[in-house]
Amino acid sequence: MTVTAQAAGSQRAAVLPARATRAGFGGALRSEFTKIRSVRSTYWTLFAMIVITIGISALLSWGRIQDYASQPAVVQAHEALRIRSRATEFSMFGLILGQLVIAVLGALTITSEYSTGMIRTSLTVMPRRGTVYAAKAVVFTLVALVAGLVTSFGSYFIGQAIFATHHLNSSIGQPGVLRAVVGGGLFLAVCGLLSYGIGALLRSTAGAITASVALLFVLFVLSGFLPSSWAVHVDKWIPFNAGGAIWENLSGVNMFSPWVGFGVFCAYAAVAVVAGGILFRTRDA
């Protein structure tokens, strides 16, 4: 892979037309899309998210069915009702791990600029930082949303196919089911966006991923250890519970309704994205 030395004096690139090109939001969007589609980590993380979420969901659905099938008929009659009412969320429960994978991509979208030094080049060619930051967030969110919807619909239909073997499946036309499946995709996109904001705050891949996993997963696990008198007040505010309300049929009066919970989750993400954006604009790059 040798590069021949050319006499620099012998040529020059054609002069650009005098009509000034303008650096605006449209160009920033196109640029950020080129960035995200031109590195392998994007494909690997999205592939991992889809495979892990669908795989875990299918495994869980299959486990439920195996349990069900091994019960005596009397118990089955009672169980069938319970499973059928929760078939949708059972078929999407892999999202609990999928959210962590999209958080990795969300963080990388911004932290890789810092870890590679690309940020200096990015902000030299486009010194209006707010534009860069917003374009990055928009492009990432769209990519995450598309991949998230593929993931949640894939999970749902594969899970339902498994439940259908014993006629325990839900159907997309039932009340709340389509909301839950679309909500699964929305949930993933907002998880990633939350992590994007944290990435802008911390500027370190490892730090941002750790913080995101703590917020999205560890808090949820820890909340299980709270005394119930506390849990009543705290549980619904846990990010996973708030955001999960849109695709989980959360039992209990202490949880948010689907859209309110999702709204709370979006507010968490908004705080991270706005705080990250303020620092992105003001800090030395």
Binding site: R12, T21, R30, T116, V125, P127
Partner: protein, 321 residues
Amino acid sequence: MIEARGLTKRFGDKLAVDQLSFTIEPGRITGFLGPNGAGKTTTMRLILGLDHPTGGSVSVNGREFSRSASPMREVGALLDAKAMHGGRSAYNHLLCLAQTNGLPRRRVGDVLDLVGLTEVAGKRSKGFSLGMGQRLGIAAALLGDPAILMFDEPVNGLDPEGILWIRSLMKQLAGEGRTVFVSSHLMSEMENTADHLIVIGRGRLIADCSVAEFIERNSVQTVRVRTPQLDPLVAAVRRVGGRVVATAGDAIMIHGLAADKVGDLAYENGVRLHELAVAQASLEEAYMEQTAASVEFRAGGGPAAEEPAEAGDRVSTGGVA
């Protein structure tokens, strides 16, 4: 045109750039010279808006660079050959930069051609050698056909062939009427390429003049004399205000007197000369002398300013004192 007025940048308790004022005129190569750690890179980052100044201001074509409507048309910069995502191909790296400013896609192919990287356009840049990375960085700087180009230590770590390439490229760019602002810690590098010099040490301006002027102002003329009658000549030289700076056998070096004056002195005092020669101090020496007091760290010592000035008059000529 780049104008800095009282530009100051403080990192914690360290002043990286201290009240720097200068103007970089269009259409020539301005060398930005100073020892390592003098604040050259920080100054360039301040110009580009990567760092925010603690005080003062710097403008590009009359306004803050971040207000430029079309930044890549105004300034192309290579601060660091590795300021790119190694997982991205050379082509895509340039494409994502071009898109920010709405530059046509064909421009990417043009600059790849110009720097000779067309063959490896599809390869990820993490596999590139330092020289290839440098070329890719230069391609990025040239993408917008900018009127101003900034290069930070562009020849660092390059092989002789690469150094030659960069030098001729800079001359070509200046020849096309562009402003070239290039930093180096080596005077010899600037001697060959720059028209104008801005010299800094410890963040402060030491000199802002043409290369010729810098040489003239700073090279001390030394007269070398060999004579079998040292003592009377030394006495005569000192009487008229010359300085004898070195003695070796029957030879002495004289500062402060022109060669013809030394010859006349010898004649008037009846001293026989075996040799009378003029030795010009090199620009490198002049630069070392200028920045000696401003070198931040020296081998085996603490900050230079805290050392006693044992080097005597050599140090005291430093511009920052």
